[in-house]
C-alpha cells in the first residue's frame, strides 16, 4: 500500500492504495468517486477521462502518483453547488446521453475544451472528442449539446424545463398509402 495525496474537485484527499493503482482505480475504489468509468482499462475508449490541471487525460493509464500535487477534476466536480454545468444541462436537454456510460468522460473532454476555447466550431468539438468513444448516439446530439453549452458558459446555469433543445427534428405525417 502507498499513501497518496490528491486534490480532487477542490478537496484535499489522502488514501492508501496498492502501488500499481491508476488514477482511475484510486478515484473509483479508493475515494468512492465512481462517476468516472472503466470501459477498456487500456486507454482506448475515453470513458475514464478526467481533467488534470485543465487538460483532459485518460485516468485509466495514468499512474496515481503522476496526479499527486495536481488539480484533478472529475464529473462529480463539474457542477457549481446545486447548479449543473451548462454542458451537463445541455446533455440532458439534447438527449446527448443515452446509456450514459461514456458521458462522464465526454463531459470532462468538453469542459476542458470550453475552458480553453469558449467558442469552438463543430470541427473543433469533433477533434476534442476524438478520444472518447460513444456507442449509442452517433455523436450528433453530443455536438448539439456542447455547441448549446458554449453559448451559455458563464451565463445561466440551467435552462427552464420545457425549454427544449433547439429546433425539434423535422417530422412528416404519412399519407396513408395503400388505401
Amino acid at each position: 500500500m502507498e499513501v497518496v495525496r490528491l486534490r480532487v474537485n477542490g478537496d484535499e484527499r489522502v488514501c492508501g492504495v496498492p502501488a500499481h493503482y491508476t488514477l482511475l482505480e484510486t478515484l473509483r475504489y479508493g475515494l468512492g468517486l465512481t462517476g468516472s468509468k472503466q470501459g477498456c482499462d487500456k486507454g482506448d475508449c475515453g470513458a475514464c477521462t478526467v481533467i488534470v490541471d485543465g487538460r483532459a487525460i485518460l485516468s485509466c493509464i495514468t499512474p496515481v502518483w503522476e496526479a499527486e500535487g495536481r488539480e484533478v477534476r472529475t464529473v462529480e466536480g463539474l457542477a457549481r453547488g446545486t447548479e449543473p454545468h451548462p454542458v451537463q444541462d445541455e446533455f440532458d436537454l439534447n438527449g446527448a446521453a443515452q446509456c450514459g456510460f461514456c458521458t462522464p468522460g465526454i463531459l470532462c473532454s468538453s469542459v476542458a475544451l470550453l475552458d480553453r476555447n469558449p467558442t469552438p466550431t463543430r470541427e473543433e468539438i469533433r477533434a476534442a472528442l476524438a478520444g472518447n468513444l460513444c456507442r449509442c448516439t452517433g455523436y450528433a446530439k453530443i455536438y448539439d449539446a456542447v455547441e448549446a453549452a458554449a453559448t451559455r458558459v458563464g451565463g445561466e446555469a440551467r435552462r427552464p424545463d420545457g425549454a427544449g433543445p433547439g429546433p425539434a427534428p423535422k417530422r412528416t405525417p404519412a399519407r396513408g398509402v395503400g388505401v
Binding site: A47, G100, D161, P165, P173
Partner: protein
C-alpha cells in the same frame, strides 16, 4: 378518416401532428428531458460496477486456451490453498444445461467436459481482491485433450463424422448443424422463369460485435436464508431470473434480479452469461457478496453478436421493374453455441418480405456451429445481413432496367393494411414518405449518377419488427406489465419491470403517466429493474418495449384516471367524462372555470376508493400469422419502415471510403419524444455505418498460428468509429400513427440501422462503378475491387 384506422394519416395533412399546437397532447410528442438525464450527466447514476457491498469478494473466470478440447481433469487444490482465496467453482458444480431459447439448451455456466472456443469458461474463483483472484487462476491445473477445430461454417456443415462440436440430436446426424430452415411461398422457379431480368449475386457479411462501452458486470449476494440477489448489467432480467433459479436449483421466489442502469447493450446482454451464474454460486459457497467485471477482452469473447452470413440471391423482375420472385441461400456461422440462433435462422429469411411486394419467395438458411464465440442477436437481429444483399440486388435491377432506384422501390411498395407473401400482418406503413423525405433532403435527383467520378449517392430501404407476438418461452401471460401508485403529495410512482439500457424506456413511461394523469413530469418517479417489486416485462430486445410497455402504461394510467374522474365528478355533480386531467389540474370540460389541483383530485379519489393505484398490462395479438411451421417467427404487432440515402467519396488511390452524410427517414408510428427518436435513428445509422466500413469480429486461422484466437480483442484494434470517423447524420421522422401502438408509436431503435450498409454499398457503386459485395468496405477490400475492375487513379477527376 380517423388517425387510428391503420392507414396512417390519410387526412393527416390537415390534422395537427403530435407535438404541434392543437393536438390535445401536453407531453407526448414534445422534446422533454429524460427522467435519468441529470443523474447520468452528473456521475450519480450507479452502474453495476459502481456498487460495492461490505465484505465483497472479487471473482475471475479461467478461460480455455483451446478452440476445441476435452477437459480431462481439473485440479483446483493449489488455487484453493492460496491465501485470500475463498472459493473455486468448476463446471461440475453447476451441471445443468441452459440456453435462452428453451428448445436449444446447449451450454453450461462453466464447461463440464468440453471447451468449444478460446475463451470458454472453465473455472471461477472468489478472492479478497482482484490481484489475488488473478493469481489464483494461474494455480488451477486443467488437462485438455485437443480436438480438431472447425472455424469455417462450410467445412463444419460438410463434416461426415465426429467428433462434432455438439452431440447430434439423433444418431447419424451432423452435430455441427444447429438449425436448417427451408420455406417457399408461391412458385419461385416459375416466377424467375417469367422474369425479364434475373439478377444473381453472392454476398458476404462479416461478423461484428456490440461493444457496449460498459463491460458486463454482475454481483451475487446469498443472504444465508435461501435468498439470492443478483445485480447484473443485463437487458433481460426476467429471463435471467428464470435461468438462475433453474440452473442453481433455487426457488424462483427466493431469487431477486436487480438491473442497475446499463451502459449500452445492443443485444449483447440479452441472455444469461457465465459471470451471473458464477457470482451467484460463489456467493452461495462463501456467504459473501461476489463481483465479477469482465475485462474488455472477455467482452469480445462473450460476443453473441452479428453472425457472419454467406448469401446467394436470385432476384427476378418484370420489364417495368416489378419484383417477380426472390430466392435466397444462406449459410450462417453461429459459433460454439445456439444462443438465439434458432430465431436468427428464421429471421434471416422471414423479415425480408416488406416493404416490397414479392409474389414468390424462397429461403434456405443453415446455421453451423464453429469453434468460435457464439453469435447471437445484435441490433437488427438476423435481418441486417439479408437486407444488405437484397438492397444491392435491387440497385442492380434498377441499373439493368434503367429505372431510378428510388422509383423502383416506390413501384414495389407493399402498402399499408396488407399481408406479406409469408403472411406477416402489416398495419401502418409510412415507407413511401420515407423515400420522399430522403429523396428531397439529399437532393437525390440532382446527384444520383450526376456527381463527379469518385463521389456518389446510394439509397436503400427496410422494415423491422416492433416486438414479437410470441414470447421466448410459451405462455399466455402479458408480455408487459406495469404498476402505478399515487402518493398524497400528488406524486405518481411507476413500478416498471422494463430494462433501461439507454433507449429511454424509463422516460417513456413517465411521459405517458404525465400525459394521462395531467401531472408535471417531475411528479413522476420511475422505479425499475428489480424483480422483487416490479411486474414482469420480458426485456429490452426485438424493439418491443415502447409498443408493449407503453400500451401497458396507458392501460394502467387510464384505470387510475377513471377512479379520479369518478371521485371528482361526484364532488362537482357532473359526469365523469366531463372531468379532464391536464396541466396539474382537474378541470371541468367546457370552459366552466371549475378546477382543482390534481393532487386534491387524487386525495378525493383516495378518500372515495381507498389507496390509489392501478396495474396495466399488454399482450400481443395472436393468430394473425400464416399457417405453416415457423409462421409465428417474425410475426409482430407492427412494423417500422426506413429509407436512407448515403453520400460517399471514394479515394481510388487508397480504397478509402469517406461517408459524408446519411439521411435517415424512419416511420416510427409516432414520436413520443422526437429528440429521443432522432437519437435512436442516429445511433442506428452510426452503427450500420460502422459495420459497413470498419468493423469485423474475426478470428485467426491455423495458418495464422493460433486457430480461433480473436484477431483484435480491444477497442483500439477492433475499430469502432470515433467522432472524426462518423458522418453527418440527418434524422427525418415520419409518423404513420399505428392503430395499435401507444399514441400510434412503433419502434425506432433497430429498424434505422438496416439501410445504412446497402445505401453505402450502392453509393460506392454510384461513385466509382464497383460493386462491393463483401463487408466491411475497408480500404484493402475496396482497393482490390477497384484494381480488379480496372479502375485506377488515372480516372480520378474524369467527369462522366
Amino acid at each position: 378518416m380517423s388517425a387510428r384506422d391503420g392507414r396512417g394519416r390519410a387526412s393527416g395533412r390537415d390534422a395537427p401532428a403530435a407535438g404541434q399546437p392543437g393536438d390535445g397532447l401536453s407531453t407526448i410528442g414534445r422534446p422533454m428531458r429524460k427522467v435519468d438525464g441529470l443523474a447520468k450527466s452528473t456521475g450519480r447514476a450507479r452502474y453495476t460496477d459502481d456498487i460495492r457491498l461490505p465484505g465483497m469478494l472479487h471473482g475471475k473466470i479461467l478461460r480455455s486456451p483451446h478452440p476445441h478440447a476435452r477437459i480431462v481433469a481439473i485440479d483446483t487444490s493449489r488455487a484453493e490453498a492460496l491465501e485470500g482465496v475463498h472459493a473455486v467453482v468448476t463446471g461440475s458444480d453447476m451441471p445443468t444445461r441452459y440456453g435462452i431459447i428453451p428448445w436449444t439448451p446447449d451450454e453450461y455456466p462453466l464447461c463440464v467436459d468440453r471447451v468449444r472456443h478460446i475463451g470458454d469458461g472453465v473455472a471461477a474463483v472468489a478472492a479478497v481482491d482482484e490481484d489475488t483472484a488473478n493469481a489464483a487462476l494461474d494455480l488451477i491445473d486443467v488437462a485438455y485433450e485437443e480436438l480438431p477445430a472447425y472455424l469455417d461454417p462450410h467445412k463444419a456443415i460438410a463434416a461426415d463424422s465426429g467428433p462434432y462440436i455438439h452431440e447430434p440430436r439423433k444418431p447419424g446426424q451432423n452435430g455441427n448443424v444447429t438449425k436448417v430452415v427451408r420455406l417457399e411461398f408461391g412458385d419461385v422457379e416459375a416466377g424467375l422463369g417469367d422474369s425479364h431480368v434475373v439478377v444473381e449475386g453472392d454476398y458476404f457479411f462479416e461478423g461484428t460485435t456490440h461493444t457496449p462501452i460498459e463491460p458486463h458486470c454482475a454481483i451475487g449476494l446469498a443472504e444465508g436464508n435461501g435468498k439470492l440477489t443478483v445485480w447484473s448489467a443485463t437487458q433481460v432480467p426476467h429471463y435471467l431470473h428464470r435461468e438462475l433459479a433453474r440452473v442453481l436449483e433455487v426457488d424462483p421466489a427466493h431469487v431477486r434480479v436487480i438491473q442497475p442502469p446499463v451502459g449500452g447493450a445492443f443485444g449483447g446482454k440479452s441472455e444469461p452469461f457465465d459471470l451471473e451464474f458464477c457470482v451467484a454460486k460463489l456467493s452461495m459457497m462463501t456467504g459473501r457478496p461476489v463481483k465479477i467485471l469482465y475485462t474488455r477482452e472477455e467482452v469480445f469473447y462473450s460476443h453473441r453478436g452479428r453472425h457472419p452470413f454467406h448469401m446467394r440471391y436470385r432476384t427476378g423482375a418484370t420489364r417495368d421493374g416489378m419484383l417477380t420472385s426472390v430466392d435466397a441461400e444462406i449459410v450462417m456461422d453461429g459459433g460454439a453455441y445456439a444462443s438465439f440462433g434458432l430465431v436468427t435462422t428464421y429471421y434471416a429469411g422471414q423479415l425480408l418480405t416488406a416493404p416490397y411486394r414479392m409474389p414468390a419467395y424462397r429461403f434456405h438458411s443453415t446455421r453451423a456451429y464453429t469453434n468460435k464465440p457464439a453469435c447471437g442477436p445484435k441490433r437488427g437481429h438476423g435481418s441486417v445481413q439479408p437486407r444488405f444483399a437484397f438492397e444491392v440486388q435491387l440497385d442492380r435491377i434498377a441499373e439493368r432496367l434503367e429505372i431510378d432506384p428510388i422509383g423502383l422501390r416506390r413501384r414495389n411498395f407493399i402498402g399499408a393494411n396488407t399481408r406479406t407473401v409469408n403472411d406477416l400482418r402489416i398495419t401502418s406503413n409510412g415507407f413511401l414518405e420515407c423515400l420522399d423525405e430522403v429523396e428531397r433532403a439529399s437532393d437525390w435527383k440532382r446527384k444520383h449518377r450526376r456527381l463527379p467520378f469518385g463521389r456518389g449517392v446510394g439509397v436503400a430501404g427496410s422494415t423491422y419488427i416492433t416486438g414479437t407476438n410470441y414470447p421466448i418461452y410459451p405462455n399466455d401471460m402479458p408480455q408487459s406489465g406495469i404498476q402505478l401508485q399515487v402518493d398524497r403529495s400528488g406524486r405518481v410512482a411507476v413500478f416498471s419491470g422494463a430494462s433501461e439500457i439507454g433507449q429511454g424506456v424509463d422516460s417513456m413511461v413517465a411521459y405517458i403517466v404525465a400525459e394521462e394523469l395531467g401531472v408535471p413530469l417531475d411528479h413522476v418517479r420511475v422505479l425499475a429493474g428489480d424483480t422483487d417489486f416490479t411486474p414482469v416485462d420480458l426485456g429490452a430486445y426485438s424493439s418491443r418495449v415502447t409498443f408493449m410497455l407503453g400500451n401497458a402504461c396507458i392501460d394502467a394510467a387510464r384505470k387510475l384516471k377513471t377512479q379520479v374522474q369518478e371521485a371528482v365528478a361526484a364532488e362537482w355533480g357532473v359526469k365523469p367524462r366531463e372531468v379532464l386531467l391536464a396541466g396539474g389540474l382537474a378541470v371541468q370540460a367546457g370552459d366552466t372555470g371549475t378546477s382543482m389541483p390534481v393532487r386534491d383530485a387524487f386525495n378525493l379519489a383516495e378518500a372515495a376508493a381507498g389507496t390509489l393505484g392501478a396495474t396495466g398490462s399488454y399482450n400481443t395479438p395472436k393468430d394473425v400469422h400464416g399457417d405453416y411451421r415457423g409462421a409465428t417467427i417474425g410475426a409482430s404487432p407492427a412494423y417500422s419502415f426506413t429509407a436512407h440515402v448515403a453520400e460517399v467519396e471514394v479515394d481510388v488511390e487508397t480504397g478509402f471510403v469517406t461517408v459524408d452524410r446519411i439521411w435517415i427517414a424512419h416511420d416510427c408510428g409516432r414520436a413520443l419524444n422526437p429528440v429521443l427518436v432522432a437519437g435512436q435513428m442516429e445511433g442506428s445509422a452510426y452503427m450500420g455505418f460502422a459495420e459497413a466500413l470498419m468493423e469485423e469480429q474475426i478470428f485467426k486461422t491455423e495458418d495464422q498460428g493460433r486457430a480461433g484466437l480473436h484477431n483484435a480483442p480491444s477497442l483500439l484494434d477492433y475499430r469502432i468509429p470515433t467522432s472524426l470517423d462518423t458522418p453527418a447524420l440527418e434524422s427525418l421522422i415520419v409518423e404513420s400513427i399505428d392503430p395499435e401502438g401507444p399514441y400510434g408509436a412503433k419502434e425506432a431503435g433497430e429498424g434505422p440501422l438496416h439501410p445504412s450498409i446497402p445505401a453505402i454499398a450502392n453509393a460506392i457503386y454510384d461513385a466509382v462503378g464497383v460493386r462491393m459485395d463483401s463487408l466491411p468496405f475497408s480500404p484493402p477490400r475496396v482497393w482490390r475491387a477497384l484494381r480488379s475492375a480496372g479502375v485506377t487513379g488515372a480516372r480520378r477527376g474524369v467527369a462522366r
